[in-house]
């Protein structure tokens, strides 16, 4: 075993990588350095065109350096570019679509600041003369209110360049682990840190590892679960795309700790860029001697392979995931036996969520005590939340577990706009709604469960008055119904019935008879019954947690359900099929006011004759009913 005592760990692979090549924003530059943040979100927002225009701008002039980095995490700033010129610190600009490239470059290269709309912030450094009146990037509310441990240096690290990761002390934890610690020691450190799985189950990671380590079998597997198919959750993609080496480092430590010689990254096939970058990173890691045989002279071999998940939500569940890797339908199996005893090809297998894995290097670098400085109750460390919906800021943020909903709201939406917010849906298909009265609750695992919420993989969907609770519920139940694997009856049939009931109460009755009305009214009680049955009897978390959305909705927004059922009223005007407007021919004098006011041009007719509403066009806004002076517009 190589001795690390007097040397820095970086000497371990000094021959394989060219560290001096990594650009460092803290040092002065000669020629301009342009950082472009390329990731799935920014590609959609047009970063590739921006890059093209930057190249065009410099044309034949080769005195500049283009540096492709990952994302800062906030996708509503996309496309983001950073510029560092001679004597000045790195300064970031947001929403730089191609048409603004030349304006910004023209001014900055002449040491003049462009329009402030684009300016995000700078990273000042001693020896570099800061830009006047430009805020510090990390002092902006959006970053200062986070606790960025995993996301540290995101936006500066170049995902395709191992030197860049190592330059920010990457692979330090792994190098020191494999050269100085035994597997059992690593398991103990992780267990004591209190790290719990971020994939939804919240099981103590160290305990899981110990169990796998202590099984007698020699062949073991470590799987990083990067399937992430919850709608509204995109933190896993962010990690894999923008810092693939962090994921690999975490996996290497995990595999070492449980004595697995083979590890897999199970990632969704649609995550093209993430897969590309992971493949490249694995290639680089192999070249640097971080994977393969006899790593750093320790005699230990670890190989990592990517498995592209063919896309089924239920394959995020660990036993279903394993089934799909074995070439089967991805359906869950009853536990026990747990995968840590009987997993892939019958061998002990540890499955860990990608975010869990990314926490591991931090714990080994800074220790369990430092790790526990963040968190609440029994939930230690930080958690990534994917913020989306009716917010000012969309993206992934990292905050202490146990942060309150209100504090998260303060990060992603201005105080003035907060009163418009009606609800937050937390945790995706396994989570639930929360209303403003409850925004003070803390999001640690236990408090969340006490409040009928699951943190899931951390989706945080903000809803305002234009969103309907029933509609969002329908959206999630439809998702569950589509993705239910069909193996167990409570989930397969239960989700179907729930969807039917929700459809029935959000549409007008198909027939006006007593039976139909009774069915609508019975809806609420049936929803509750079926939900509790599904919770108790479903085989896996998919069916067990699916009713959370319904139950939390019924608990906190019962009034909205009742409005739909009794008054056929959808406050948000989303459930437009609840009613049908029609003209009472006998009352209509043909004044034409309604036709003029109708925003959808849905009313036709000639003057002084009864008018007519074209149902296909009608958006059920009710303007015609309000404007008619002759009671000629009615609802059915």
């Amino acid at each position: 075993m190589k001795n690390l005592k007097d040397k820095t760990y970086k000497t371990l692979f000094i021959d394989a990588v060219e560290l001096e090549k990594a650009p460092q924003y803290s040092k002065p530059v000669e020629m301009p350095h342009i950082y472009v943040e390329r990731n799935t979100g920014s590609i959609v927002s047009g970063i590739d065109a921006t890059i093209q225009y930057i190249k065009k701008y410099f044309d034949k002039d080769e005195n500049y350096k283009l540096i492709e980095t990952g994302s800062l995490g906030i996708s509503s700033f996309d496309p983001v570019i950073g510029i560092q010129i001679h004597g000045r610190p790195l300064i970031f600009f947001k929403n730089v679509t191609f048409s603004y490239v030349s304006t910004i470059l023209d001014s900055i290269l002449n040491h003049i600041l462009p329009e402030s709309d684009f300016i995000l912030g700078q990273i000042s450094h001693t020896g570099l003369s800061s830009w006047a009146d430009v805020p510090e990037l990390y002092q902006l509310d959006i970053f200062a209110k986070q606790n960025r441990r995993i996301l540290k240096n995101f936006g500066l690290i170049q995902p395709d360049f191992i030197e860049s990761y190592i330059d920010y002390d990457g692979y330090k934890a792994f190098a020191e682990t494999i050269t100085r610690k035994t597997a059992a020691e690593v398991c103990n450190i992780i267990e004591k840190s209190g790290l719990r799985g971020r994939g939804g189950g919240a099981f103590n990671t160290g305990k899981k590892w110990q169990k796998a380590l202590n099984t007698g079998k020699s062949q073991k597997y470590f799987i990083c679960n990067a399937d992430e198919s919850d709608p509204g959750s995109f933190s896993g993609r962010l990690l894999a795309e923008n810092n693939p080496h962090l994921v690999i480092e975490g996996i290497l430590i995990g595999a070492y700790a449980v004595n697995a010689r083979k590890a897999f990254i199970y990632i969704r096939n649609t995550y093209t860029l993430a897969i590309e970058r992971l493949e490249n990173a694995l290639f680089q890691a192999q070249k640097a001697g971080l994977t393969g045989e006899d790593i750093f002279g320790s005699g230990i071999n670890i190989e990592i392979e990517i498995f592209k998940g063919p896309g089924a939500y239920v394959c995020g569940e660990e036993t279903a995931l394993i089934a799909s890797m074995e070439g089967e339908r991805g359906t869950p199996k009853p536990k026990p036996p747990y995968p840590s005893e009987d997993g892939l090809f019958g061998q002990p297998t540890v499955v860990n969520n990608i975010e869990t894995v990314c926490n591991v290097p931090y714990i080994l670098n800074y220790g369990g005590d430092e790790f526990q400085k963040a968190g609440l109750n029994n939930s230690f460390g930080t958690k990534l939340f994917s913020i989306s919906g009716k917010t000012d800021i969309t993206g992934v943020i990292e905050i202490d577990l146990g942060t309150s909903v209100a504090e998260i709201m303060d990060i992603c939406i201005t105080k003035q706009r907060q009163p418009e917010i009606k609800a937050v849906h937390i945790g995706g298909p396994s989570g639930g709604f929360i209303d403003p009265d409850k925004f003070s609750i803390n999001l640690d695992y236990e408090t969340a469960i006490d409040n009928k919420l699951g943190l899931g993989s951390g989706s945080f969907l903000v809803l305002d008055k234009t969103n309907c609770i029933i509609d969002i519920t329908k959206y999630f139940i439809k998702f569950i119904n589509n993705e239910s694997c069909g193996k167990c009856i409570p989930c397969r049939e239960g989700s179907q019935r729930l969807l039917e009931i929700l459809n029935r109460i959000s549409e007008k009755p198909s027939e006006y008879n007593k039976h139909e009305s009774l069915l609508r009214f019975k809806g609420v009680t049936q929803l509750e019954q079926i939900s509790s049955l599904m919770q108790k009897t479903s085989l896996c978390g998919l069916g067990q947690n699916a009713p959370n959305t319904i139950l939390s909705g019924l608990l906190r927004f019962r009034q909205e359900y009742e409005e739909h059922i009794y008054e056929r009223q959808c406050e948000a005007n989303v459930c437009r099929n609840l009613k049908e407007y029609y003209v009472v021919v006998d009352n209509c004098v043909g004044c034409g006011i309604c036709a003029k006011k109708c925003p959808a041009d849905a009313i036709i007719g000639t003057e002084h004759q009864a008018h007519f509403i074209i149902q296909d066009r009608c958006i059920k806004c009710g303007v015609c009913e309000a404007s008619c002076k002759f009671n000629a517009i009615m609802i059915k």
Binding site: S233, N269, P310, R329, K390, G395
Partner: protein, 148 residues
């Protein structure tokens, strides 16, 4: 396609099935039933079972892609920001359902759980070109501008 199929090894293991299917679809855009027959022969697993496994997963489609392959994001952020009935409008316009191809072979539709651009929703992509924050009006224009 025949050339590819003929190169398949004589012995295919069960845990390799999905990788072969993925590779096939990456190359040809869909799963041809003849390929399932060959996989069945080489692996000794009944073709009905392989078809069952294949159809279980969202990734695989059984019809060739259209001239315009349309991907629509159905993530929760796109859902709450979209006009009501946006996806239905698209289906009507192109006369194709999810994982389906229109009869004239022009359009095929794929619904994606999340395209990773949640600040830009609703997002659709046509042959890889993205359209962001699309309204029902935009959809009409985008499709009428397509070079059929």
């Amino acid at each position: 396609m025949e050339k590819y199929i003929s190169k398949l090894p004589d012995k295919v293991y069960k845990h390799e099935l999905l990788s072969y299917l993925q590779e096939f679809q990456d190359m040809f855009g869909y799963i041809d039933l003849s390929f399932i027959e060959v996989l069945s022969k080489n692996s000794g697993i009944p073709s009905g079972k392989i078809f069952g496994i294949t159809s279980f997963y969202n990734q695989f489609r059984f019809k060739p892609k259209g001239k315009f392959h349309i991907q629509v994001c159905e993530g929760s952020s796109c859902h709450v920001n979209a006009e009501i009935g946006l996806i239905e409008d698209i289906k009507k316009l192109i006369k194709a359902d999810e994982k389906d191809t229109s009869n004239d072979g022009l359009y095929s539709l794929e619904i994606i759980p999340c395209m990773g651009a949640c600040s830009q929703g609703p997002v659709i992509s046509i042959n890889g070109k993205f359209h962001t924050k699309v309204s029902k009006e935009d959809i009409k224009k985008i499709f009428s501008d397509l070079n059929l």
